[in-house]
């Protein structure tokens, strides 16, 4: 094995054997991919939550044909039962006990909503049936159902939007019953997905490229300065310089090893994303692989820059920690970037991560491009060149050459 490949192999092997680096470079990205996909992947699909909801019908008459309040009540009760054993009901209803004073119930339930024990309180108020009839006759505004929500609680928000859907259905049903609405003439509503051949994209298709870039980024930002500076301080590198191995061959081996590490990260994440979460995004296409190689190289160069700017290993780690999260979040790795204040927008546009993420995702067809196509290659390459030039002049290897 030549010196260069031996150095490369050493870099890869030691990073995978040391628990800390193994965790942050490999285990953590896998974990992050899993967690974020589990959390956000389910958005919009069937919720697995059951909301505790208080319900009281203060307008109940005797259940006769004009007792619309019962109809509304039944619509909500329907939500509290589930059609199949696997699907949980959306609501778990709390009703007044037999003979309980409705006022007392309302007060109790409102307090429960306030402190978060209930997501919602629904009251079909007294006079509802009369108001409804008036509204049907055109002589009054819509009859109102009183809903109490807890300010600031997401569960209230979601439960309320579910209630809104129920009410919409109730409207149609009541108008049908009184013969005003003809269900056969009901509006046909469809929905269609546009863009990227109309294929439905999962969140994981958006996320996976981002996590891969994050893994490359952390490896470059922490791994490169860590290895070089700790190696220099602990005099591990010193042993190399008394052999015929020149620094430039060491550098070549080091870089090769780093790219091998990135390749390992990519393979692990791709396998997880593809086979555990069904990601369909075409990360193996030549264009995508080219972008990934570019990203790994840019972050490697960035790591060299940090190594040359920090004087000690601890200083380098501190710098890396400070840069880490802002560069990742403001590069759009995890969330699409909305409107930013000017300062942050400037940071975003100076950040090579932004361009790499955008270029990669556009090449994969999972996003609308945010920056011009040429910039997605030019800016990162420029970054890499600057980093290499600065590092070449400043980086000390620990031997007087």
């Amino acid at each position: 094995m030549s010196g260069i490949t031996a150095v490369a192999r050493t870099y890869l092997v030691t990073n995978l054997r040391e628990r800390i680096t193994l965790f942050w470079f490999l285990v953590f990205p896998l974990f992050l991919l899993t967690i974020l996909t589990l959390i956000f992947g389910g958005l919009g699909s069937d919720l697995e939550t059951t909301f505790a909801v208080g319900l009281v019908n203060s307008a109940r008459a005797n259940g006769g044909p004009t007792d619309f309040s019962s109809m509304v009540e039944r619509a909500f009760v329907h939500l509290s039962s589930s059609d199949s054993p696997d699907r949980r009901p959306l609501f778990r209803l709390h009703r007044p006990a037999d003979g309980e004073d409705p006022r007392a119930f309302l007060d109790r339930e409102k307090d429960a909503v306030r402190i978060g024990d209930r997501a919602l309180l629904i009251e079909i108020p007294a006079g509802f049936n009369e108001a409804l009839l008036a509204s049907v006759g055109g002589a009054g505004p819509p009859a109102a159902i009183a809903i109490s929500v807890s300010g600031g609680r997401i569960s209230s928000e979601i439960a309320r939007s579910i209630a809104d859907q129920v009410i919409a259905g109730v409207n149609e049903r009541i108008l049908t019953v009184v013969g005003r609405f003809d269900p056969s003439q009901a509006l046909t509503v469809e929905s269609a997905r546009v863009g990227s051949n109309g294929r439905d994209f999962l969140y994981v298709d958006f996320l996976l490229p981002g996590v891969v870039l994050m893994a490359f980024f952390t490896a470059g930002l922490f791994g490169v300065p860590g290895t070089i500076l700790f190696g220099r301080e602990r005099k591990i590198l010193k042993r190399y310089w008394v052999t015929p191995l020149e620094t430039r061959r060491f550098l070549a081996g080091f870089s090769l090893g780093h790219l091998a590490l990135c390749a390992t990260q990519f393979v692990a994440l791709y396998l997880l994303g593809r086979f555990a979460f069904g990601a369909r995004v075409a990360l193996l296409s030549p264009l995508s692989l080219a972008f990934l190689a570019l990203a790994a190289s840019v972050f490697l160069a960035f790591g060299f820059l940090i190594s040359s700017l920090a004087r000690t290993a601890n200083a380098a780690m501190a710098i890396a920690n400070i840069l880490n999260l802002p560069m990742m979040f403001l590069g759009g790795l995890f969330f699409p970037i909305g409107e930013l204040p000017a300062i942050l927008r400037a940071v975003m546009l100076a950040n090579p991560v932004t361009y790499l993420a955008d270029g990669l995702r556009t090449a994969l067809g999972v996003t609308t491009p945010m920056v011009p196509c040429a910039a997605t290659i030019a800016v990162p390459v420029a970054w890499a060149v600057v980093c290499v030039v600065v590092a070449a002049r400043r980086l000390q290897w620990g031997a007087e050459q």
Partner: protein
């Protein structure tokens, strides 16, 4: 037949600002011999060696190695050298075998890994991670690395510091074997016995300069026909020591060791014994010895090799 010289150093200089770490050092090392730089900590031994190993740039002077004057120790020279650094570490997460293999890959020519492992008695530890090794095992690994290319010239910087006596003796016998197989060894140490036992030639350094050099025998011969009589002086009062000094002269006492230096052994023994009888002092652990390099250093600088 003219002896061939593997390494010749002339007026080597290395200054760091006002500190003269190496201040005009000269020596030459014949092939297949053991040359030792002896001196206390801070004498400049390691700095000198690191210049010769190519990791420090000389401030002045000339270096001639393998028959050619070199302005810098380049790759071609390093192919033929083996270096044991005084300080230096290996990647903690590599196995012993992998370390040898890694370093072997840096040279055009290298010995088989198994051979190196056997040489330094690390064969059973070949799959152990560096971080699980003891200090002595790490040192052996470092020696293995220094020998992996079967070098002609070997630098050993403080090879036995921190080793237990058994390991030290193992290292000494390794050095002898290397010399017997035709290699040239340059070693630094602050242990006098090491210099005396191993070396064909010794240069004693202090404050960046060579203060004296020669074979160990030549150096101690410079002290003449002196004999040293020493005994354990624990419990002796200052008054008693003063009276001994008055009677016998040339006396030193430190660390509970009283030593008399004399050219007239019989006479000195006589006076010592009569003093001891009068003072009622038992002469514990009495030894008689010839001068050693420690004494040489002491006589030249007034200080001990070991602080």
């Amino acid at each position: 037949m003219a002896e061939s010289i593997t390494l010749r150093v002339t007026d080597l200089i290395k200054h760091y600002g006002s500190v003269r770490a190496v201040d005009g050092v000269s020596f030459s090392v014949p092939t297949a011999s053991v040359f030792t730089l002896l001196g206390p900590n801070g004498a400049g031994k390691t700095t000198t060696l690191e210049i010769l190993e190519g990791i420090r740039r000389p401030g002045g002077g000339s270096i001639e190695v393998f028959g050619e004057r070199r302005l810098r120790i380049d790759r071609a020279v390093k192919e033929r050298m083996g270096v044991l650094l005084q300080d230096g570490n290996f990647e903690p997460e590599l196995k012993v075998r992998e370390v040898i293999g890694l370093f072997a890959s840096f040279f055009r020519r290298s010995l088989p890994i198994d051979a190196v492992l056997e040489r330094v008695a690390l064969k059973e530890k070949e799959s152990a991670l560096v971080r699980t090794l003891s200090g002595g095992q790490r040192q052996r690994l470092a020696v293995g690395v220094a020998l992996v290319n079967d070098p002609e010239l070997v630098f050993l910087d403080e090879p036995t510091t921190g080793l237990d006596p058994q390991a030290r003796r193992a290292m000494w016998s390794l050095v002898s074997e290397l010399k017997d197989s035709g290699k040239t060894i340059i070693l630094t140490t602050h242990y006098m016995e090491e210099a005396e036992t191993l070396s064909d030639h010794v240069s004693i350094m202090d404050h960046g300069r060579v203060i004296v050099d020669g074979t160990p025998r030549e150096l101690t011969a410079g002290l003449g026909e002196e004999t040293f009589i020493e005994f354990d002086g624990r419990g002796l009062s200052d008054v008693q020591l003063a009276s001994l000094d008055a009677r016998c002269g040339a006396m030193r006492s430190d660390d509970d060791l009283v030593s008399l230096e004399t050219a007239d052994f019989a006479g000195a023994m006589d006076r010592l014994i009569s003093w001891a009888k009068e003072a009622g002092v038992p002469l514990r652990d009495i030894t008689v010895r010839q001068p050693n390099l420690e004494d040489v250093f002491l006589s030249l600088t007034g200080r001990r090799l070991r602080e």
